[in-house]
Symmetry: C2
Subunit: 497 residues, 2 copies
């Protein structure tokens, strides 16, 4: 694809053998991968259209090793790309030709489970679902549930501030992480937060969450665990139009009901999912809501009745309540398999991730129909309807000349539409390389410079994950924060941008 | 009190007349207050033991005026202390002798109420309760409720990340602010967040929330508004010991119940409050829990029964459920008046604000009893029990030689105890000047330097609220982020630290 990455440093490329040796001294055994056939698996992440072989792959096992690798790369001016499980949908873990790929998958231990304080301390390579597996014997779980939860790592969740279908009620990663340990590019080990409520000082924990690997490398995560609700039931509600479904969503929220999850799929997504997993979805509707209510049984019964009443008021065609936990899981299985299901009906698809103020949903859906005609491509829609997070899946065929480019343009137009109605470029997938060049659609030059001043506070040489998030990185000294007088500032090496 | 503030700049003090004239040109009319008798009211905030007259007071009315004042102060190297309603309990708005006090009280308009998207856009001088007053005709309210909510401003709430008795269920200010506009010390106007879910880029909104006026001046706030719950009932539960009450709190949370509020008071606080407002509190117990359940009536009835059952299991002496909204308000009136109530039984009191992991409550209560003996001073305890946030009120008499110093030492010992059990120095009152010199008890030198690198990214001259939060501010160039080569960095004026 046509994303421009920073020009690789000839100096770094020329020193590859020495760099590999130095890294092997820091991480002995099988912790350094430098053979091309073994590095191939790390060539891309979940955004598979982008591929790049790294300079070398390092898989450290201890915090000391991480700090030593970063200190070495800082001293030698070698870029570093951190990677968890590599499920990023925005290319956040895309390697650099002249960069060390720092893979945290060997940090896979659960360090402490503290049921009294309702938290768990885990290493960043533990999978999202792995946390729930570690605490479910006592009736607890970890709430944010990306569709990739069986594979994605909690470290990657922190980097991307990942969400899931239950984030409407229980929040994104940022709302469920209590503390982290991370290592700066200079090799300092910093601990933020812990098992307590708010803390003094700037909210660096919040800043690190969603920073996409540009500020530091997370080596430990303390997460909140929740007791599983006494009861959870889901209801499938079919509507003759997306507009009616959208209005029902607004009415449910307006009545003060916060469902555990409230998802919406349009006809193409419904059919693709039903054909794939046979979840029991109705085929004769234009829009489907999956609404889950959880809590004490008395509350769930009361809220289910309210949701059904509101849905009928808004003209629903059908409503089916799950009668068992198995049926509830089946309802969700269709939604969680929507992406691969769409993969079965189209040679390729491109998943977008815009967020809009909830009430703009009808306007954006209508706009998307127009764009579909304009670009000559179909789109299947899957929404986190309750919180306004859209996941349009653009269907295309990479083997047909020009279709990939059309899909990219279509995606960009959708995101511009999201911004135009007061929304933003991403809800949970991150900017990465995918949305990097759209950042000026959203932010003014002052806004972007202010973000980068924070980047400079952590990594003034732009060595951590360069080429991601920011379309242009200013030299830190250019950002107006240095007051140089009767002297001069010069850099030993020119920075990469 | 004995807090060391930065040495005032003789250059600034000597230019006072010129500075006042320049400010009057920017903010005409009655927007500049420079007469000593008129400035007296701004001499301290809620931490009344600390007093300092400012250089001059400015009350701008427009964002352009705020930007112009900040640009002027930046160019002239004049410190600026932002102030909302001045209810800070940590001295966050304490003036500086050589500093402009920038008061936002004229920013008092509600700009937009958007019920569909459940948010309101307000100016920072609007009071916390003023937001609820503006939306309650449609059944909505703003959730975080500091005891000072009738007076404190939403801008100040953002600066301190304020909480209240309902923060257990509904979160602190950080969880309820969707967007802000703020002005940097250089006069740039930056907008963060808005009416949508998550956004791309670093979480500068989270960073600004709780930054205590050291990073910028907030000029607009977008907050989430919630629909008032269908039903809310409170129950007063008396216990023969604080340990039993603490165990009941843990058991309630462990059962998956998140009450709207769960507060605890000890015997001295109960008696002081009951004598003051006649809330109907039992006098014959050692600890009192006030637990509020809210939601649909069916849920509230179910949860009330569960809370009563758990309380009896843990040996409660009495339980009284509110039978009307008036009675519920009375139950809370005692708690919300606890600080002034304690003021009636002691010439002076000193309110601390530590936070601990919930399960350490018995250990900390026992430790506080020992400290009370050691320092020869009584203490009354009011807790946000559900989230581990303690507010010990140390009773002393400022007219007795040495008692103020003993109270300060007692307070410091309590905070050290909080940190020792894995807690932190503040839950919601901020660091300000009060807890500034205790920061090294909590943070390593690396931690503090990393915080200050962020400060430098926003305000490299340390002009915004200097002397607050950090015991020592390093010069930005000392923090190791500048790589100077064949040249020299020098500052036109030496920074203040």
């Amino acid at each position: 694809m046509a994303v421009l990455m920073p020009k690789p440093s000839a100096a770094v490329l020329g020193r590859r053998a020495a760099i590999v040796s130095a890294l092997k001294a820091i991480v002995p055994g099988e912790g350094v991968v430098d053979a091309a056939n073994e590095m191939r698996v790390f060539e891309s992440d979940g955004l598979t259209a982008y591929r790049q072989m790294p300079l070398v792959v390092v898989l450290p096992e201890t915090v000391d090793q991480v700090a030593a690798v970063l200190r070495y790369c800082h001293a030698e001016r070698i870029p570093v790309v951190p990677r968890g499980s590599g499920t990023s949908l925005s290319g956040g873990a895309l390697p650099l030709e002249d960069g060390v790929l720092l893979v945290l998958s060997r940090f896979n231990r659960v360090l402490d489970i503290d049921f009294d304080n309702r938290c768990a301390v885990v290493q960043p390579g533990v999978t999202n679902l792995g946390i729930t597996r570690a605490v479910e014997h006592r009736g607890f779980y970890y709430a944010p549930d990306p569709s990739s939860q069986i594979a994605c790592s909690i470290g990657g969740n922190v980097a991307e501030n990942s969400g899931g279908v239950h984030s409407l009620k229980y929040g994104l990663t940022a709302n469920n992480v209590l503390g982290i340990e991370f290592v700066t590019i200079e090799g300092e080990v910093i601990r933020l937060g812990g098992k307590h409520l708010d803390s003094e000082g700037y909210d660096l924990l919040g800043l690190m969450t969603g920073s996409e690997g540009l500020l530091g490398v997370v080596t430990e995560v303390t997460v909140r665990i929740l007791q599983a609700p006494e009861t959870a039931r889901a209801v499938l509600i079919g509507f003759p139009s997306s507009e009616q479904a959208g209005a029902a969503v607004a009415a449910i929220i307006a009545e003060g009901i916060i469902p555990g999850g409230m998802e919406m799929m349009d006809r193409p997504a419904i059919h693709a999912a039903e054909d794939f997993v046979h979840a029991g979805y109705p085929r004769d509707v234009e829009a489907l809501l999956i609404v889950e209510l959880d809590g004490p049984k008395a509350e769930v019964d009361h809220l289910l009745a309210a949701v059904e009443r509101i849905s009928h008021t808004h003209g629903c065609a059908s409503a089916k309540v799950s009668q068992s936990d198995e049926e509830r899981a089946a309802f969700w299985a269709g939604r969680k398999a929507a992406f691969p299901a769409v993969g079965r009906i189209s040679p390729d698809y491109y998943c977008m991730d815009g967020t809009i103020p909830r009430k703009e949903l009808p306007k954006v859906l209508a706009g998307m129909k127009d764009l579909s005609v304009k670009h000559g491509l179909r789109v299947a829609n899957v929404f986190h309807a309750g919180d306004g997070n859209l996941h349009p899946l653009i269907l295309y065929d990479a083997n047909k000349p020009g279709e990939l480019e059309s899909a990219e343009e279509f995606g960009n137009d959708i995101l511009r539409l999201c911004v135009a109605v007061g929304g933003v470029l991403t809800g949970e997938h991150g900017v990465g390389v995918e949305k990097r060049d759209l950042m000026p659609e959203m932010f003014s030059d002052d806004d972007l410079k202010h973000q980068q001043r924070v980047k400079c506070a952590f990594d003034s040489e732009h060595l951590l994950n360069p080429g991601k998030v920011f379309p242009l990185l200013h030299r830190c000294a250019e950002l107006g924060r240095m007051h140089v007088h009767k002297g001069q500032v010069a850099f030993p090496d020119l920075p990469r941008f």
